[in-house]
């Protein structure tokens, strides 16, 4: 019997080629998107689950006090980890993890070659056991036995040493420490938030030996005893604050444990941390929502097309019923047909997803590889999707059509199926409403991105390149490099700074009075040059920081922005010049200049307080030269810079970054959202059009007789086309009315993410509506014209 069903279903599919092809295309597109996204989601969810101790490993995070707006930080003082192991019995092991020089790219010297490296970490020796390091050279137990040892990943080994063994080789870090390779480990998995290329012992550095409860820069991971009471450990950890930290130093109030496997997706709102491989559960959720939506639209398409084809099926159902088929027989037949079609679609979509994966990856910026598509959950998911699509997409046609009475065979007058027609129209409205929402969403997103790109930031990041000089062997080297560069014609201005805007500033507070309990958190950045000129800041009063500070001058010279100015309650910028400011910079500080606020952070946030300072005894080092250039030939610029750099800093690797690229990086995730949303809306509209095409064919067929009569009575082709198209445009109109308020609401919500945002213009709605109408019209008119051109003699002939 089943064989017969399959045979009949297969022939039915073959007999209705147009519909079958439309259906398969729609389903393949929808499924393909789903498969790719599900495998992406699957790989995101797999993060850190491969570590054998993963269930017992937690990252310790802390909640800060009011002074820091109760933010949650992933970086702690380096005293926390050792104290937890010592005082809390349920904590078995811990490792602190910190990037060399707080995350600034390191310059390595190996033999006579220079390399840059930005995944150089310091850690406690427990890191190897906690995270299942597999050593291919050396052993984990002895890796840090000798002082000044370093272990490196297999990939790094190949980068530095090629095929040769690395054991015993020397690596000089930042022209500061010389370390000896004591081990090589297999690269950490791609789906690990821990991404160390090289690790040296934290106890070989002041970072591990100077234990303090003040500066918070250290990510701290703990491994608990199996079945430990997490809440109890958290309470005990929080109690350590009162035990060890004097009241006035308590700028954090609470420790809590974040499970290792949650770090990747659930770290939004947690500040800092060194993990670069962070995902976002919100992204995952919206991607799942979007892919289900696209699949839903494809399923709706199937329903529409299947029922639209019902005139032909009506006869066959009638005949089968007269011949003895029950409703159940017909139901099974329909489901078998859907199942075959869905199966073809699933197989095609799966094959196609291998093809589009690289493209999807580069388009949306989501990292994936082919292995993700072969994961067992995906294969199980495929079967599940097949089942769900079959049951869901097959349901409406099966249920609505199996009820057709055999009387339809003998009755010449056909009853109108008003209910099913209503449902069909409803489905089309839903499809188009979804498409219109997506069109509006995409337009608003693109507008906002445009707005951000063109927003005046208060400084000009275009035409500035940042060259790292943090590994210079002496201050003199940097000065020489500056001098050499200043002589180049393509260099307009140079400022030696601690950080490019928004990257590696130090967090400090300013206070109105030295007795104030809390101050205003600000970003401070040491500088040695003309930042106003180089970054094109807007100077409101005063001047650049002084060129030279006399030897022995302990004064700290500062350049503040308006935010700080208004916090300090000065009446006007001029009023503040020469006045003292209470900072945490050691010596007494005075204000030498005030600049307008500038957005050193992402425009999602308000611009905060910012301070440039210059002092003889500056606590921070100079790490970067900001160079404003005036040549369009970037290749030559970089070549020139590199040459000059190598002449002056022969033992340091040349590392540069364009500041505008850094700014663009702040919006990378929004850029991804925009691209993904665009992709989805194009697909949704495409599938919706397939459905509309089918429905138009159905309507045209149903009204063949009417069209014939009208033509005999003298209607023109244009008139008939208009007649048929009108109905669909009405549906699109309804969809537009339903979609607009929803789109408005959802995009207003989205824009709330940005402190600086565009408004939702009403022409966007007009545009989206017009686009939908136009697309619908083109789709429908093809069928309408075809129907209108038919010879009426044919359609009016009775059977």
């Amino acid at each position: 019997m089943l064989r017969n069903y399959i045979k009949i279903a297969w022939r039915n599919l073959k007999a209705n080629r147009l519909f079958t092809v439309l259906n398969i295309i729609g389903l393949v597109v929808g499924l393909c998107v789903c498969i790719v996204l599900f495998s992406f989601v699957n790989s995101e969810l797999s993060f850190d689950k491969m570590y054998s101790h993963a269930p017992d490993i937690y990252r310790v995070n802390m909640e800060t006090s009011e002074e820091y707006n109760f933010e949650t930080w992933a970086e702690l003082p380096n005293a926390v980890g050792p104290a937890m192991v010592k005082d809390i019995p349920q904590v078995k092991k811990m490792t602190r993890l910190i990037k060399d020089d707080f995350g600034v790219t390191a310059s390595l010297k190996i033999g006579d070659k220079n390399f840059t490296e930005d995944r150089l970490y310091l850690a406690d020796s427990a890191v190897f056991e906690m995270f299942d390091f597999k050593f291919i050279e050396g052993e984990a137990e002895n890796a840090f036995t000798n002082p000044n040892s370093i272990v490196i990943s297999e990939a790094s080994k190949e980068r530095f040493f090629g095929k040769k063994s690395a054991l015993g080789a020397f690596i000089t870090v930042n022209n500061r420490d010389t370390l000896q390779v004591s081990g090589v480990y297999k690269d950490l998995p791609e789906n690990s938030v821990i991404d160390c290329d090289m690790i040296y012992h934290i106890l070989d550095s002041w970072m591990g030996t100077d234990v303090y409860w003040s500066n918070a820069s250290y990510e701290t991971y703990v491994q608990l005893q199996p079945q430990a009471q997490v809440a109890q450990v958290e309470t005990q950890a929080t109690q350590l604050i009162d035990t060890y930290v004097p009241k006035e130093g308590q700028y954090f109030t609470q420790f809590y444990l974040q499970p290792l496997t949650k770090i990747h997706l659930y770290s939004a709102g947690i500040r800092d941390g060194y993990a670069t491989r962070l995902g976002s559960i919100t992204t995952i959720r919206s991607l799942i929502f979007l892919s289900v939506l696209v699949l839903l639209i494809a399923c709706i398409n199937y329903m529409n097309l299947a029922t639209a084809n019902s005139r032909k099926r009506r006869k066959s159902i009638g005949v089968n019923k007269v011949l003895g088929a029950t409703q159940k027989h017909m139901l099974v037949l329909f489901y078998v047909e859907t199942a075959i079609l869905a199966c073809i679609a699933v197989v095609l979509a799966y094959a196609l997803s291998f093809l589009i994966l690289p493209w999807f990856q580069s388009f949306t910026g989501n990292a994936m590889n082919f292995g993700d598509l072969l994961a067992p959950p995906i294969l199980i998911g495929l079967a599940l999707i097949w089942l769900v699509v079959t049951l869901f997409a097959g349901s409406y046609p099966a249920l609505s059509m199996t009820g057709i009475s055999p009387l339809s065979l003998v009755n010449k007058s056909r009853k109108k199926h008003t209910v099913s027609e209503f449902v069909r129209k409803g489905l089309v409205v839903f499809q188009f409403a979804a498409s219109i929402v997506l069109i509006i969403a995409v337009t608003v997103i693109i507008q906002q991105m445009d707005f951000i790109k063109n927003k005046n930031l208060g400084y000009n990041p275009d035409g500035v390149v940042a060259v790292s000089v943090k590994s210079a062997e002496s201050k003199q080297q940097i000065r020489n490099l500056e001098h050499a560069l200043n002589r180049k014609t393509y260099v307009e201005g140079i400022a030696a700074v601690q950080s490019i805007p928004g990257a590696d500033e130090s967090g400090r507070s300013v206070r109105r009075l030295s007795t104030d309990q809390t101050g205003m958190p600000i970003a401070s950045c040491r500088t040695e040059g003309n930042v106003v000129e180089t970054l094109k800041l807007k100077l409101l009063a005063g001047a650049e920081l002084p060129q030279n500070i006399p030897e022995g001058d302990s004064l700290v010279y500062t350049l503040i922005n308006e935010k700080i100015l208004s916090y300090l309650n000065y009446k006007s910028p001029e009023d503040a010049i020469g006045k003292p400011v209470n900072t945490e910079l050691g010596g007494e500080a005075i204000i030498t200049g005030v600049v307008a606020n500038f957005n050193f952070n992402s425009l999602k946030e308000d611009s905060g307080g910012y301070m440039y300072y210059k002092a003889n005894d500056a606590p921070e080092g100079i790490r970067t030269l900001l160079i404003r250039y005036n040549t369009p030939n970037l290749q030559q610029l970089i070549k020139g810079l590199e040459q000059t750099f190598n002449e002056n800093l022969p033992n340091t690797a040349f590392d540069y970054a364009f500041v505008d690229k850094h700014v663009a990086q702040l919006y990378a995730s929004e850029e991804r959202t925009a691209r993904t949303a665009t992709l989805f809306s194009v697909l949704a509209i495409f599938i919706a059009c397939l459905g509309l095409f089918g429905l138009a064919a159905f309507m045209a067929e149903q009204r063949t007789k009417e069209i014939g009569v009208r033509k005999v009575l003298g209607a023109s082709v244009a008139g008939v086309t208009a007649l048929l198209s009108k109905d669909f445009l009405k549906l699109v109109g309804i969809a537009f009315v339903l979609a607009s308020p929803f789109a408005y609401w959802i995009m207003s919500e989205w824009l709330q993410n940005f402190n600086y945002r565009t408004s939702i213009h009403f022409w966007i709605f007009g545009l989206a509506g017009l686009a939908a109408v136009l697309i619908a019209f083109v789709t429908v008119s093809f069928q309408a014209i075809k129907a209108a051109l038919q010879n009426p003699v044919k359609s009016l002939r009775t059977e």
């Binding site: 045979k7 009949i8 022939r11 005949v319 089968n320 003895g324 009387l407 065979l409």
Partner: protein, 225 residues
């Protein structure tokens, strides 16, 4: 007695008034009869056949088929009854386009859950008997009208019904093909199958052993030969 209609009324409302499709129809049919229903277009021939075939309902009257009161049966039971005992032949043949001749004939057996081996034998017999063995793998579209109707009749007969209902079985055929079909009906009738056909051709009606004339849903007079 195979079936009995007692004072059957069927009407539709049009503009608030009843329009009678069947008006007080009474009819007794014995097993082995060959009845022709005649009348002009719209006289109610098809409606009467549909009522007899239990595809259509009626508002008033009694219908007893094979000693079962059809008028008081539920739809499911009624469907079971007609599937068991009645074969239909249509003017437009109504073969299933996607199935071959063989498969079309086999379909009723599938729905009766008859075993594969038995199905094969039954269909082979039928193909043999109608001389269409050579056409068994062809699709309806590849056959002439007469051949299609032959398949339609074979399909109606395969489940061994007691009654064949034929609504204008030759309406779409030329006269030669029509004659062949009627000869076939006559043959079947002689073998014991009860046949009721609707037609408006005098010559086709003459094949029956009883003719019922309908006009505007009413029986006119009864003639037998």
């Amino acid at each position: 007695m195979l079936l009995q209609l007692n004072h059957i009324y069927k009407w539709v409302k049009q503009g608030g008034k009843r329009v009678f499709l069947l008006n007080d129809i009474s009819l007794d049919v014995e097993e082995g009869e060959f009845i022709s229903i005649m009348g002009p277009s719209g006289s109610g021939k098809s409606t009467l056949l549909n009522v007899i075939g239990m595809l259509d309902e009626f508002q008033e009257g009694e219908y007893i088929f094979n000693e079962e009161p059809v008028h008081s049966l539920k739809e499911k039971q009624r469907a079971k009854l007609y599937k068991e005992y009645i074969g239909f032949v249509f003017q437009a043949y109504h073969l299933i386009d996607e199935l071959t001749v063989y498969e079309n004939i086999e379909t009723p057996l599938l729905y009766k859950n008859i075993k594969s081996s038995e199905r094969k034998a039954l269909v082979a017999d039928m193909l043999d008997r109608f001389n269409i063995v050579g056409k068994k793998d062809l699709f309806p579209a590849q056959l002439s009208g007469g051949q299609q109707q032959l398949v339609g009749i074979a399909r109606a007969l395969i489940a061994k019904p007691k009654l064949i209902l034929a609504d204008e079985p030759t309406g779409n055929l030329n006269s030669k093909q029509g004659e062949e079909i009627m000869e076939l009906f006559k043959e079947l009738n002689q073998e014991g199958v009860t046949i009721i056909q609707a037609t408006h051709s005098e010559s086709n009606a003459a094949y029956g052993n009883r003719i019922i004339h309908l006009l505007d849903g009413s029986k006119q007079h009864q003639a037998s030969n």
